[in-house]
Amino acid sequence: MLITRLILFYFYCIANIHGKHFNGGTITWAPIDPYATGSSVSITITQTYYWNFPYIKCLTNVPVSSGFSSSTLICTAECSYDGDYSTKKISTSTDCISTSPALSMMTSQRSNNITLNKDAHFYLAYVGEAWVPLNYPVRRNQEWSIVTYIDLRVRSDEFINTPPAATVVSPQYAIVNRTIQITIPVSDVNAGDDVRCRWSTYTDGYRRRKRSGNEKQFPIRKKRSCAGYCSSNCFYGCSCSGCSSCSGAAICGATSTTVATTTAATTISTTTIETTGTLRSTSSYPVRQAINECADVCYPNSLPSGTTLNGCTISFTGTRANTWYAVAIQVCI
């Protein structure tokens, strides 16, 4: 499928976004041998990020090579099942693979191989700041958190899953007051797998008092499922009452597939506080850590009212010219 899209590029927007650099991205992984049966499993983790070019330079070790500090992908939840990831953390540095100066865009990517204990399952995140200034009224220094769920347990059809691949150019362009449909191209190498999309969410963790010695005794939590996590529509007959694990019941409600204007306006006015340079900490003694898939760009606050996700297609209408919006979506099976 080929998409043709017209844009008019304003040069002053380059100046506008100078200083803030993150334009989105994706993190995916794949077992090197889906039929591996040993005590450990080797996987490839591929990070792809979009940056503001040439503010972030087209070099290896992006964004460190442009003067930003280095970091690693961090486990954010189910970390006692991380298969020993904590002893071999992967850097978030990536390498420039393409630029588009006309669009002020740079893409960087790196694949790392890592060997984890079998049956590992955990959430892995790249957290940082800042997005380009977003929304109207403008919000600056917005934090990003981009989270992938790795599960190396053998599927019922007796191999290790390879997650779907989803790629989309960032940024996308919309003309003011015109509704556009942005379809996330998804594919899956496991024939027959049913790929679904949903909004990224923030799922609260919970705490208990610290008791020494057994901090690793996490109870087995209910696993998240795409079926439980409906997007704007409940998929495949998943009834809304069955979507118990949706973090916000409103996400599943048939009448709540669009954001009421008043709600959005209220929320925006209360969330324009700029974040400081320090990223929010996770709870100190969590039984289960919070899963923050979207940081400051969670739906619906991050998007104009009326934005919807149907399957893997975003319907979007911007009413303010020269405004940036960030979209955070999870693609899963």
Binding site: V147, T167, Q172, V327, Q330
Partner: protein, 116 residues
């Protein structure tokens, strides 16, 4: 795995920006040609293909700025935007890819042509 599965196996994040811009000075979309179908490639065999975009606007007002793949297929490289030597309204980008064994399967590539 299928429409009735509730077992999660993975979740992959996709985060992107949308920029809302004013009315463009020329709203004729460029045409992309000619690849719009599935074609077969072999593991280990390098392929190159060009994707063309045709500008339908007055070139004094608007031109093709770039042809950009959505995301990236592992190992695929993209050349620079090049003007066709024979037709000034045509521009193209050459993609080169050597598929690897772990990429066997259906791989989708979408491409967007942008104008200035």
């Amino acid at each position: 795995m299928n429409s009735t599965s509730t077992t999660p196996m993975s979740s992959v994040p996709v985060q992107l920006l949308i920029y809302v811009m004013g009315e463009p000075s020329c709203s004729k979309q460029p045409l992309i040609l000619p690849l719009d179908r599935c074609f077969e490639v072999q593991v280990g065999v390098t392929i190159s293909f060009d994707i063309y975009a045709m500008n339908l606007c007055n070139p004094a007002i608007s031109n093709v700025a770039d042809i950009v793949p959505s995301g990236s297929i592992d190992g695929m490289t993209k050349g620079n935007l090049t003007k066709s030597p024979t037709n000034s309204s045509l521009s193209y980008v050459r993609f080169t890819w050597t598929p690897q064994a772990n990429q066997v399967g259906y791989v989708e590539q979408c491409t967007t042509a942008y104008t200035t």
